[in-house]
Each structure stands twice: as C-alpha cells, then as structure tokens.
Subunit: 329 residues, 2 copies
Amino acid sequence: MDTTEKLKLINRNLKEVIGGDIMEKIINKRDLNVYWGTATTGKPHIAYFLPILKIKDFVDAGCNVTILLADIHAFLDNLKAPIEKIECRSQYYKKIITLMLKSIKVDVSKISFIFGSEYQKSNKYFTDILRILNQTKKNDARRAGSEVVKQVKNSKLSSLVYPAMQALDEEYLNVDVQFGGIDQRKIFMYAREFLPLLKYKKRIHLMNPMIPGLNSDKMSSSDIDSKIDLLDTKLEIYKKIHNCSLENEGLIFLFKSIIYPYCSIFNLQIMISGKVYTFDKLYEDIKMKIIDETELKNIASDMIERLICPIRDEMLRDLKLIENAYGNK
Amino acid sequence: MDTTEKLKLINRNLKEVIGGDIMEKIINKRDLNVYWGTATTGKPHIAYFLPILKIKDFVDAGCNVTILLADIHAFLDNLKAPIEKIECRSQYYKKIITLMLKSIKVDVSKISFIFGSEYQKSNKYFTDILRILNQTKKNDARRAGSEVVKQVKNSKLSSLVYPAMQALDEEYLNVDVQFGGIDQRKIFMYAREFLPLLKYKKRIHLMNPMIPGLNSDKMSSSDIDSKIDLLDTKLEIYKKIHNCSLENEGLIFLFKSIIYPYCSIFNLQIMISGKVYTFDKLYEDIKMKIIDETELKNIASDMIERLICPIRDEMLRDLKLIENAYGNK
C-alpha cells in the first residue's frame, strides 16, 4: 500500500482531522503511532464498534495502535466507576475489546494494550501533572472536560485533573496521533495548547463522528434503551431494533457506521424485498418511506446478532468477570 | 518532666489548639510526634523565630519534631518559587533553619528534616492525592487555601492541590500533631474533615499567633520594609527598627514573641533607663508613652543583632548558595 492509499484509509469516515498535514511526511519514513484511550467505566456497547472499525483502518494502513485502558481516568471522572470495581472493569474492557477487534479481522499483533495505572503513577508523570496543572486555569480544565467528564454540580477536583492527564498521555505513550470521538475535541484542543508549554510536541488529532442512540442523541452506556449492549441476547437485540423509530437517525447511523462496514469486511450484502441495497439507496428509500420497515429491522437485527454473537458467547464463558465488573444487573 | 509540665510547655503561647484533649493520653505512653511544614519560597525572616521558638518548647517537652521542607508545595503555590530555584531554596531553608534552631539551643537530635519531594512522588501518595481530590470540591480547596496560597485572579489548578497534599502529609509523616501559624487554620480544618474520608485519622492541630510586620499587619517575605531578614546587616536592623512607629504593634510583638523568649533562654535582661523591664511593664510604659523610645529601639536592635549575627555570619560563608537560591538581590 503506498502512502496515498494509507492516508486515504486513515482519514476515511472521520469527522475532523487537526494537524494532519504532517502525517504524510511521517508515513513516508515509518509507521504512524496512534493511540486511542477509553476510560474503563460503563459496559462497552455496540457503538464501540465505531472506534474499533476505525482502528482496523489504522492497522490496515500499517499504523501501530496503542489502546489505553484508562483506569485512573475512570476513577477521576466523578466516580463513574467505583474504585474497587475498576480493576475488574479494566480486565473486562481488555477482553471485550480484543474480541471486538478479532471479530472484524483486525491483526491484533499491531495493537498494544496498556493500563493507565501502569505508567501514570510514576514519579516523572506526577511531576508533569504538577507542571501542567501549574499552567492550567480552572476554566481551561472545565472547558476541556465539558463534553467528556460527567458534568455535575460541585464537581470534584479530580475531574479537573482528567484533561491534563489525557494530554500527558500523548507524550507518555510516545505517539504521533491521538484518535477519539468528536466529543473529545475540547480535550484535544487543550492538549494542543498545553503540551507545548511543557516543551512536548503537539500531536495530530483524528476524530470520529458520534453515533446517535437508537432513540436519543447519543448512544450512552448509562441509557439502556438507547444502546445495544454487547452482551444483549438475540431477543433483546430484535426488540430494541424493532422498537426504535425511523424518524430519528439511530438506525440509519447503525447501518452506515457499523452494519455496512461490517458487511464490507465479510463480503455480505443487504437484501430487502429481494433487492441488494447500497447504503445510499437504503437511505433514500427510508427517507421516501418506500422501504419495508419490518424487513429493514429484521436484517439490521440479523447483522447485529451476527456481529455480536461470537463476542457475547465468549464473554459469557467467564460470568465471574462480568459479575465482578458490573454486578448482577 | 511530668506530663502536666510537658503539656504546659507544648501549649504555652499558642493562639489555638484543636483536638488537644488526646495529647495527654499519648504523652503518658510515648513521645508526641509533631510536624511543622514550611514551603520553601521566599527568604526566611525574623518572624520564623516564632515557630522555631515553639519547636524548642516541643523538643524540651520530649516531642519528636519533623520539619517538612515543602519543596513541591513551593512549586504548587502559583509559582511563588520558580522550579529551577526550588532545590537551592530548599537547601537554603534547611541550612538556615538548622542555624536558627542551634542559635536558641534546641537539641537538633530530636528533629528530622524531610523534603516533600522525598515521599510525595511515590505511587501510593499519588493514589491518595487522586482519592482526596475525588472527595474535594473546588470551593473546599479554595477556601482551605485562602489564607496561605497566594490568591491571584484565575489561579492555577495546582494551587487547589496544595491543601490536599498538606492534609496527606500528616498521614505520610506519621505524626500526632500538625503545628503551624493561625493562618493555616483553614487548611487544618480541611485536613480534619477530609483525612477521615480516606480512613486516615484526624490529627491534633496547634496554632501559633501571627507576628505583625514592623509597619504592616503581617510580616511577609514579600514586603521588605515590614520584615527583618536573617541576612540583614547590623545597620539595616537598626534602621528598620528605628524607622518603625510605636503606634502599631510590630515592635511590641517582636519584644513579646522573640526578644523576651530569647532573653529568657540566655538569662539576659531588658534594661532601659537603668531599669529592668518585664514585658508587661514594658507594654504598659509604651502604651503610656513614658518610655525612652530611642533606648527601647536600641535595645531591640541590640538583641535582634545578637540573635541574628551568628546565623548571618554562617550563611555568608556560602555566598554561592544564597545566590543560587535568591539571585543577587
């Protein structure tokens, strides 16, 4: 694959790229180092396939990808994850993300997992936290975290440390690129502004679009009806998809961002009423209301079940892990 | 010395004691462990004899005293000390405080010095910072630091970490008591409230009065005319003391808190116009304006010069240290 093809793959489907002009120069010389971080809080759900599919693009384009399981961040974020659960949740994340990657044929040898606690407690990292906090005003930190860190009245100081650590992670993971959802944009901008004050270099930032919930604006771990959990049963998947309205974009986005890319990897086709559908055609027919809604939802359910099934089956083989991480709910 | 005498010595001249009711029980069993911390920022001046004299009481009462040279705090406090100067300043503090202790005959074998950076960068300490910040609201931290941390518009986040670390120091220095000026009161109250949330025990807090400046409310490192520096020449001492007005309490406080205690250690007497003066008599005659002001100021200058002279002479033997810590001013 030549540089142009690599760049095309790296950039495709992104919502925004900042500082991307130097990527070509790096790729001409060596593999690009990319990091994606995820705070190990709520259960990863179907929307996590969005970054996972993008990571497949990175790997296919020859990038080295580091996945940061941000356990300390999980703790900092206004107690989203209770401290005694965090280690189990991090293990849960590592396992399920690995299964997700494998399920879409990602070469996992190009991926390294790291837990935040493996390096964020070092002497040097701590000194750098103090250095960056010494440059950061309260409002800088609040603004940076506003889309990501849970916004609560009287939030705790720890939540203000969150963006500072995420910025430092770029340096400590020694990457060229931080990748994340567009909701990370303000933290990325903070990192771009503050790392250079510590004489660390500004990174490239690649941002994915967000996926809306099935019946809400954002698919969120904390809103059960808006999301399909990766451990949902076949019945639950069918119910949730059939209950969602075509009026909002949730299902359409699921087709666009997950089902079609998945089909493309496995050379599958979307057939409705005996016709093969491209996404554009599907979108058009949905908007014109000339598509069989039941068939549409059936095939969506089929595909999601097909995608999730091997992950769910493997996860269920370790019920203890699930219970330790998320209790009996 | 029996427990009652020890307690009397420990408590004398303090402005406030919180949680002191358990001291007796501890002293009946073992020596009390006390810590006094000082951020290594501006040059220590004559008012530092206030805590040093109190530390003499603690040592004479059999306490073990830890002096924390809070270098990381110096850095956190809105850049009061530039990072490249902090190590030199910490060495300067250690040297001059040792000389001060010796100058009033403190048994320094009962005293241990520790730099904050020796333990505050540990893995465990960092985890505890995150734990305490996870309980601390912004306003808790701001209130706690309001008398101690430099209050600037748009202060940096690091200044909000300051009180949290000072609270943790009580646990990490393994003491029964934190001692400080009454200006530390809000940080002490913060520590009393927040350490128990981390399952650490609430400490005893002993507070000294503050000494007013010669011509202002507080003797401060940053107000040159308000203070007598420990490196001031004999001429500077005489000038500053003769320039101060008896209308404000600066000079009276200097007599009460430093000169008389010093005289008592060395069996010296304050003689003015051929009469031996107790402090009470001195105070009365000053208020009634029936004291020879020139003689009063001369004897104050004599005593301060006598106190400072050996410290200054020893410090001047290492001009390099002074220059590295505070430049050429």
